[in-house]
Subunit: 252 residues, 2 copies
């Protein structure tokens, strides 16, 4: 066997120059057991962990879910993303946060960005990775999918999301019921995410549809204070919170 | 401390009568590391495991993905589901398979049914659990969500599925492009599952749409023989297989 060779000058330079990998990790909807094995392995291996704080509790929630798999020595940083509709302001925040993350990557450190649910589904990760890639197009990005809140809700409620030849539409409820109204041919299954602000208009759009839907609401699915709302009319007396979604299924 | 009491007659009867729990387990798209911790724990704990064989390779695939977590002593049974459009024939198969599963549950054994991807997304599990519930409405059913093929595809391709206020439509490609044609207002993001048979018609529907889409195909995502198809026109010369899906995103 040949003896281990120490790196010579230019090799040391190459090693020094090698940037780290940027991981996007979906930690699932809340139940820590819904993390994937891959997410756990990578959480154990990275040098630094980031989480967004776009809402008051989101940061601590994503970190809490993953906490059993974050070694004590691993630093965890919270990145601020302002809740704004001002595109310039948002861009500025993404650029600045991407710069912070890249500061670690360029030192050859591996960094993970935690996302509630899935990194490719209504997540900040898409924006942040785009901005990291703008700083360095050669950066290695690896994305670990996570269980979404609507999958956990369907499992919890025993409601199939989509079967056979059916369609499933996932919409943000932030625009109310208009996304449903605009569709001449209604899909058999609809998930309204973020159904907290415009729940009355969402309900109205569902009732107006030619197709008759059976609707179930769920808040904080898979978390200890999960609430199931069998009749979405209840939302009139009990306003939904940020973590509320509605599954609407065509009655058969 | 009080001494341990042996069950008296009627208690023994109660214990004997307690039926097992029926678990629907999503094993994810192919990469064994995409199993959730919960799926692994339950696979280790159940008394018997079932998997559907609706296509030639599906059975072995779902079992293979989970194999590291199936104890050697645990029996694994393959259930036949005929590939048929005849509703009566399909119903008969579901009823008969539900009966087989219930045979174990009524003995107090816990049974798991494995599903590729997620049990609530284009899976046989919805039908089978409905039929098990018909035999015994009081049976405990617990569903463990799994990573879907389209989530793994989006992660692999670094393509966000849905962002901000956008919508995402998941359709079965089995009906070709008609589900897209029927929509007056097109969603920003579409996933065509099972895009193998009618891929030419799907491509035509995408091209006809007022919105311009950027499309990427992927086959056997997260499996060793994964193939990425950057230009879906390639499908003309290289017919897609059963495990092909297309992600269409509105060009921005």
């Amino acid at each position: 066997m040949s003896e281990i060779q120490k790196p010579i000058g230019w090799e040391r330079e190459m090693i020094k120059m090698k940037t780290g990998t940027f991981y996007g990790i979906g930690v699932g909807p809340g139940d820590p057991e819904l993390l994937t094995l891959k997410a756990c392995r990578i959480l154990h291996s990275v040098d630094v962990i980031f989480a967004a704080a776009s809402t008051k509790n989101e940061h601590s929630l994503a970190v809490n879910i993953a906490s059993d798999h974050i070694p004590e020595k691993t630093p965890v940083h919270q990145l601020s993303f302002p809740m704004t509709t001002n595109r310039q302001e948002a861009q500025k925040a993404w650029r600045s946060n991407a710069g912070i993350i890249y500061g670690y990557l360029e030192k050859g450190l591996n960094a993970a960005f935690l996302t509630l649910g899935d990194p490719m589904t209504y997540s900040t990760f898409g924006y942040i990775s785009k901005h990291v890639k703008r700083i360095d197009p050669n950066i290695a990005v690896e994305i670990i999918p996570g269980i979404t809140s609507y999958q956990a809700a369907a499992a919890r409620l025993s409601i199939p999301l989509v079967e056979g030849e059916e369609s499933l539409l996932i919409v943000s409820g932030a625009a109310g019921g208009d996304r449903l109204r605009q569709l001449s041919a209604k899909p058999e299954n609809i998930v309204f995410m973020k159904a907290y602000r415009n729940v009355t208009d969402i309900r109205r759009a569902i009732e107006e549809a030619v197709i008759e839907y059976r609707c179930t609401g769920i808040s904080k699915c898979s978390l200890p204070d999960e609430t199931i709302i069998q009749d979405i009319k209840e939302f009139e007396n009990r306003p939904p919170n940020y973590w509320t979604l509605i599954i609407a299924k065509q009655k058969k």
